[in-house]
């Protein structure tokens, strides 16, 4: 038992609430928000440290002192704490970028409170050990995201976020239906208890049905094929700081839930469920990257890439070996960092050129070399060029798939990798090469560095993830071995 576990959830919630009182004083808001986001990062790293050094590497808390299968438990295992750390990193970086780019009118309309409520929902979804509680935290996160995605209220945002809201409402309704089925079948919603009961329940047909229903729900929220159509347009609307936060975090919460549920609970018939997951992964990768290839807009290309890369993570789950899952986990870490960085680069270029359309840009490498080369590093990392982090994660995934002799997915993954490189080069060529097309410099050198300052840590992180691939890969292997052995989780929660 450790109450420290509640801190990554309570701290952002508390700060968000405090910020409601100071909604009209944007300087004070920034100071409070900045310091508390940094302390949240500190809390997350410390939690990761105590979980890592704990003998069982899992820490649980029975909320309200209700014993485990009946009450709600919070469970911090290595996977969950890793995700909490990543979400806090992105939370800090996007917040500091928002200080520079969000208009003060938006700040006055509760931008920061909802920003922190979003982090509350995300961290809660990672740490909870109860299916219904997962639903609740998903809703906390989604309601905040509804506000943030429409924040500012331009016509485009209103139109696209309506689709986003409808899509997520439908998915949430199905989430509830799936929970009801699950509860009716097993009589529990505690994840550890579910893990035990699903294995002994000889009801394969209905459990497969429930598993697919959950896959649908999380797939809709995590933008899996064929449910990704809402993502590119809705992520295009809001300002870069919000797009970066969403692009880095939100779909990954869906992916986290898929990985959690399909390694802990629905492992009764992996032949069936995980093959479907693998097929979906292939479709997601391929159609996502085709979307990216066909676009000529900085932010839209990046949005389509989210989809294709979600495919890689789910591919790791579909292959379902320790190496593949380690690759998927490494990929999640890599993706969250690089994707947020790229969206912030899109925001910075938009600030300079006033547009996100690639054909109207050009020659930024001459006028803003730092921006150009830092973008180049992140773009190459996304495409998977060694020695950056994208390479090692893709390498592990493809190696695992070859070992399992699923050659089709290997071919798809390699083709998608090439197309990713192609579309990232497209951005680089159109936006950074060629003759400068903007007549005068809107952003001077000093402002430029102020914009780049929040992004640089992310670029450094992706380089580090690449150069220290060995220890980090060992860590991901540890995580994947832990989640592939549900007995650890069950014992830690139910105290057997």
């Amino acid at each position: 038992m450790s109450n420290f576990l509640t801190l990554p959830i309570l701290l952002p919630m508390f700060i968000g609430t405090i910020l409601i009182f100071f909604a009209k004083k944007h300087k004070l808001q920034r100071v409070i928000a900045g310091f508390s986001a940094l302390s949240l990062l500190g809390v997350a790293i410390y939690l990761g440290y105590i979980v890592y050094t704990d003998p069982s590497q899992i820490i649980t808390l029975e909320i309200g002192d209700w014993p485990a299968p009946f009450g709600i438990v919070l469970v911090a295992d290595m996977f969950a704490t890793m995700m909490v750390i990543l979400s806090s990193i992105v939370g800090v970086v996007c917040l500091f970028f928002a200080f520079k780019t969000i208009h003060s009118d938006r700040e006055k309309f509760y931008f920061y409170p909802f920003y922190f409520y979003l982090l509350t929902g995300v961290n809660g979804a990672f740490l909870t050990g109860d299916m219904f509680n997962l639903f609740v935290f998903f809703e906390v996160m989604l309601i905040s995201s509804y506000v943030l995605i429409v924040h500012g209220g331009t016509g485009y945002q209103l139109r696209e976020s309506f689709k986003y809201v409808v899509m997520n409402m439908v998915a949430s309704a199905f989430f509830l239906v799936a929970l009801a089925y699950l509860y009716a079948t097993t009589g529990t919603l505690n994840m550890a208890d579910l893990a035990e009961r699903v294995q002994v329940l000889e009801q394969e047909g209905i459990l497969n049905g429930i598993a697919i229903l959950f896959l649908f729900v999380f797939g809709a929220k995590g933008a899996l094929f064929p449910l990704y159509f809402w993502l590119p347009k809705s992520y295009y609307g809001p300002p870069a700081a919000i797009s970066a936060l969403f692009g880095g975090l939100l779909t990954k919460v869906g992916i986290y839930a898929i990985i959690r549920v399909f390694t802990l609970i629905f492992v009764h018939n992996t032949e069936f469920t995980h093959t479907i997951i693998l097929i979906l992964a292939g479709g997601t990768m391929f159609f996502g990257v085709l979307g990216a290839v066909s676009q000529f807009d900085f932010k839209r290309i990046l949005s389509y890439h989210i989809i294709s890369q979600v495919g890689y993570m789910v591919m790791g789950l579909g292959v379902y070996t320790p190496l593949a899952l380690a690759g998927a986990i490494y990929y999640i870490a890599h993706h969250i960092i690089v994707k947020s960085a790229l969206f912030l680069f899109a925001g910075a270029t938009q600030k300079i050129t006033g547009t996100t359309e690639l054909k109207k840009m050009g020659g930024l490498l001459k006028t803003h070399p730092w921006l150009g080369w830092l973008f180049f590093i992140s773009a190459m990392s996304l495409a998977g060029i060694p020695p950056l982090s994208g390479f090692f994660s893709k390498f592990a995934l493809i190696l695992a798939a070859v070992q399992k002799e699923s050659y089709y997915i290997v071919v798809v993954a390699l083709v998608v990798g090439i197309l990713t490189l192609f579309s990232m080069m497209k951005i680089f060529m159109y936006a950074f090469w060629g003759e400068p097309k903007i007549s005068q410099d809107k952003v001077n050198r000093k402002e430029m560095f102020a914009l780049l300052r929040p992004i640089i840590p992310l670029v450094v992180l992706t380089i580090c993830l690449g150069f220290f691939a060995e220890p980090i890969f060992q860590y991901s292997l540890g995580v994947s071995e832990q989640i592939l052995d549900p007995a650890n989780y069950v014992n830690a929660v139910l105290g057997k």
Partner: protein, 140 residues
């Protein structure tokens, strides 16, 4: 609607009845039907009754309330209740209760869950009235 004295009189009286019933629901909750959420909806409906029978501006002068602060205050109370148990080394949100005898009321159950419910009560009043007044002000 200039001469609507009967509406005003009925509204003024019934608001107090509705409000006191909403507090009854708040205190009855937890072990019996009722609770912070339903009580707050009822309290909000009482205030909406005032808004409907008089008009928005009059009530704003009489009750100069800023609803977003309600939401924040309620959340802080509810969170504070949860956190208070951690100060004594119990898990987050652990609830405690005790039966005591108070003058007039007799034996009552004092519980920390009531504080949590009070937080919910304030949040829900804030949200319900914020939504309703925002929509009402929209066409101005």
């Amino acid at each position: 609607m200039k001469n609507n004295i009967s509406l005003h009189t009925v509204a003024q009286i019934s608001v107090f009845i509705v409000l006191s019933f909403s507090f009854y629901l708040l205190f009855a909750g937890h072990n019996n039907p009722g609770g912070g959420f339903i009580g707050a909806l009822m309290a909000a409906s009482a205030i909406v009754l005032l808004y409907v029978s008089f008009d928005l501006k009059t009530i704003k002068n009489v009750l100069p309330l800023y609803y977003p602060y309600f939401i924040a205050t309620g959340l802080l109370i509810a969170m504070g209740t949860g956190v208070s148990s951690t100060l004594f080394g119990y898990p987050f949100l652990t609830q405690f209760f005790q039966y005591t005898t108070l003058p007039i009321l007799g034996e009552v159950e004092l519980t920390t869950a009531l504080m949590f419910d009070l937080g919910v009560f304030i949040v829900v009043i804030g949200i319900a009235l914020l939504i309703i007044t925002t929509i009402a002000e929209d066409d101005e």
